[in-house]
């Protein structure tokens, strides 16, 4: 009997597992990246299939969202503030990088709070923050809006594409046998959702982010899944509590309301996003600048959607490593370090 209490025992268990085939979807870009960085895929038993799901905010941001940001930068003269990765994501027409080269103002920030501070310091500019991400980062987007109201400034708004996981878990449930739930998301929303999903037959384990935490969560998942009954395990109890962070949830509920959201490559999932409530419309760039519907779609042959749903491996996309590489990304999964295609490329020795 292999011991599951130390790293080498866990590794041995995952290497030698010979039960029924199991698909495990990690739903967090940080997990994807760390799994590659630790070389975990390279020693897993062939009976264990890891799927890099839709958990990297950059990867699931639709091209039409980039088109909206480009419109604001070039047509409305707004200053776009954003996390760095989004600058390189291709839109249907162009990326923000190209918009910047054409004279658009695009500024990389490290926090929405910095974007709000920038707006306050530059009253002559119309500042828009690209608000993407999951439950983990939405609270700080909301706090930026709250600060703008407190500071009495009217030149700061969010272009929202914030997503929430519950809808995605339901929508993707048939693509996997168990989820590796994202530890940081559940540190905010708690574990009730996972328990409810378990009752409806959807299994999963909440995982931490170190190599050893990941091995533990994977081994627990494999062991439980091979027993054949739906399960839920919190394998990250030092950070994730049952109730999560009620304060963070409350502030989001105060400013935001659920909405349908488009996930790049997957399509629209009902009520899988949040947007600012009507009373905060002055901080909602979509309403403030009457952005037209961006319905032009460029056909690229990119198979990011199939990758995100675990239907193909990145290297099975005909563009992978050829037309699409980190220097010239075509799909969003090749842009961020947390994207499945980028991680496959970097750690798989494709370059």
């Amino acid at each position: 009997m292999t011991s599951l209490t130390d790293t080498s025992g866990l590794r041995k268990y995952l290497e030698e597992y010979d039960g029924p085939s199991i698909r495990i979807m990690e739903v967090c870009g940080t997990h994807t990246h760390e799994i590659f960085r630790q070389g975990i895929r390279n020693f897993l038993s062939p009976k264990i299939n890891l799927i890099s799901g839709p958990g990297c905010p950059v990867c699931v941001t639709p091209a039409s969202y980039i088109d909206e940001a480009v419109f604001l930068a070039l047509e409305k003269g707004c200053t776009i503030t954003t996390f760095g990765d989004l600058v390189r994501v291709p839109g249907n027409q162009k990326s923000l990088q190209q918009a910047r080269a054409e004279g658009g103002k695009v500024k990389v920030v490290y926090s929405p709070l910095d974007a709000e501070k920038y707006a306050k310091a530059h009253p002559e500019e119309q500042v828009v923050f690209l608000s993407v991400g999951f439950e983990t980062t939405t609270p700080s987007d909301v706090i930026a809006v709250k600060n703008a109201i407190k500071d009495g400034i009217d030149n700061f708004s969010l272009l929202t594409a914030n997503k929430t996981m519950p809808g995605a878990y339901e929508a993707m449930a048939s693509s996997t046998d168990a989820y590796l739930y994202p530890g940081h998301v559940h540190a905010i929303i708690g574990t009730k959702l996972c328990r409810d999903l378990c009752e409806r037959g959807v299994s999963g384990t909440i995982a931490g982010f170190t190599g050893e935490e990941l091995l533990t969560a994977l081994a627990v998942t494999v062991k439980k899944a091979s027993e054949g009954k739906p399960f839920f395990v919190n394998a990250y109890p030092r950070v994730v509590t049952d109730e999560g962070s009620p304060a963070a949830c409350a502030i989001v509920d105060k400013f935001m309301q659920p909405c349908d959201a488009e996930w790049r490559g997957i399509g629209t999932i009902p009520l899988s996003g949040v947007e600012l409530k009507d009373e905060f419309a002055v901080c909602d760039a979509r309403k403030k600048y009457s952005i037209p519907k961006m319905d032009y779609e460029r056909k690229t042959g990119c198979k990011c959607g199939n990758v995100l749903q675990g239907q193909i491996k990145p290297c099975e996309c005909p563009l992978f490593g050829k037309a699409c590489n980190p220097d010239h990304p075509i799909g969003a999964c090749m842009v961020s370090d947390e994207g499945a295609c980028s991680a496959f490329y970097m750690y798989g020795g494709q370059s």
Binding site: F36, Q38, G39, I40, N42, E212, Y347
Partner: protein, 334 residues
């Protein structure tokens, strides 16, 4: 003193002479230092190594050093990597009009101290002043000459399967120190640059292992870039045990927050060495007993498989390629 550098200091006239006398000769002076058109030097015994390097680091002053120390160490270490004892340096300054003279004095003083520490003489120099905005405060170029013992031959091409790979201390300090000094991330951490002259440790290594195959300083692209360069130049594979790569806790913290790979952050006082396995322990032992290389350790070995690749054994015992060096992480790091 509120005096600043003006275009007149670069005119070649009286102000230039004042600058040379009061700042450069005072701080850099030695028996060979000249204000003539060229320094005249005794002929050294042995093969000569010659190197040059330009320095444009921003900001010019950071925890653990300034551009003056960097300019001396950079060229001294380039020479040392070829097994050459550094003898003479020249330095050329391009100064932005408006630089406070006290800043220039601090830089010259640091260069003098670092040169004396490194056992090298600065023998000639040049000063040009550029208009406001044409350079960023000060750019320095140094060139150096050193002499190599007959039995020493190092090159990236000489890495051989079976060689042990040594780094001379914890990695990624200089890059992290510069990144924090720029204050763009709002992170506060105590990280000082590792910038140091490394001829003395190299000299001692050559005493115990004159046949050492590779010595290379891990500057701009960090240790990771050096490993890929050597894998390519020598046509070998490189295997590294990630847990053996020394990274200071504060550097690990900052790079973890920002998602950076410490192996790709610049060092200015670290070398990568590759030597026959039977000499590796002796090399590490002398390094550990020498200033600036106390943290030396073996991180991996050269292989005849996975040619041109760097394979990492990870903390959990997995194997993966070290991602290849990507786009420039930070401009103007040295």
């Amino acid at each position: 003193m509120n005096e600043v550098i003006t275009l007149a200091h670069g005119s070649g006239g009286r102000k230039t002479s004042e600058l040379i006398g009061e700042i450069f000769r005072k701080n850099l002076g030695n028996e060979y230092f000249t204000a003539d058109d060229a320094a005249v030097l005794p002929k050294p015994e042995g093969r000569i190594a010659m190197s040059t390097d330009g320095f444009i680091v921003s900001p010019w002053k950071y925890p653990g050093g300034n551009i003056g120390r960097l300019a001396v160490c950079g060229t001294v270490n380039d020479l040392a990597c070829m097994g050459a004892k550094p003898l003479y340096l020249t330095c050329s300054y391009i100064i932005e009009e408006g630089l406070p003279i006290e800043d220039l004095e601090l830089i010259a003083k640091t260069m003098g101290e670092t040169a004396r520490e490194a056992g090298v003489n600065i023998v000639a120099g040049d000063t040009k002043v550029a208009g406001k905005g044409q350079v960023d405060k000060i750019f320095i170029t140094t060139a150096g000459v050193g002499v190599i013992d007959d039995n020493v031959n190092t090159s990236g091409k000489f890495a051989k399967p079976g060689d042990k790979i040594i780094v001379t201390g914890d990695v990624g300090r200089h890059g992290t120190a510069i990144l924090l000094a720029r204050d763009e991330y709002g992170i506060e951490a105590e990280v000082t640059s590792d910038c140091a002259p490394l001829w003395e440790p190299v000299r001692k290594v050559l005493e115990v292992c004159p046949e050492i195959h590779v010595i290379r300083d891990a500057t701009r692209g960090g240790v990771g870039t050096v490993l890929y360069e050597i894998a390519d130049e020598a046509g070998v594979g490189i295997k590294v045990n990630r847990e053996d790569v020394p990274v200071a806790d504060e550097v690990r913290g900052v790079t973890g927050l920002l998602g950076l790979e410490p192996l790709y952050l610049a060092c200015e006082g670290r070398m990568v060495m590759m030597c026959p396995a039977d000499k590796a322990d002796a090399v590490v032992e002398v390094l550990k007993a020498t200033k600036y290389t106390e943290g030396a350790t073996i991180i991996g070995e050269v292989t005849d498989t996975e040619i041109g690749r760097v394979v990492m054994t990870t903390e959990v015992g997995g194997q993966t390629y070290l991602p290849k060096p990507g786009n420039e992480l930070l401009p103007r790091i040295c």
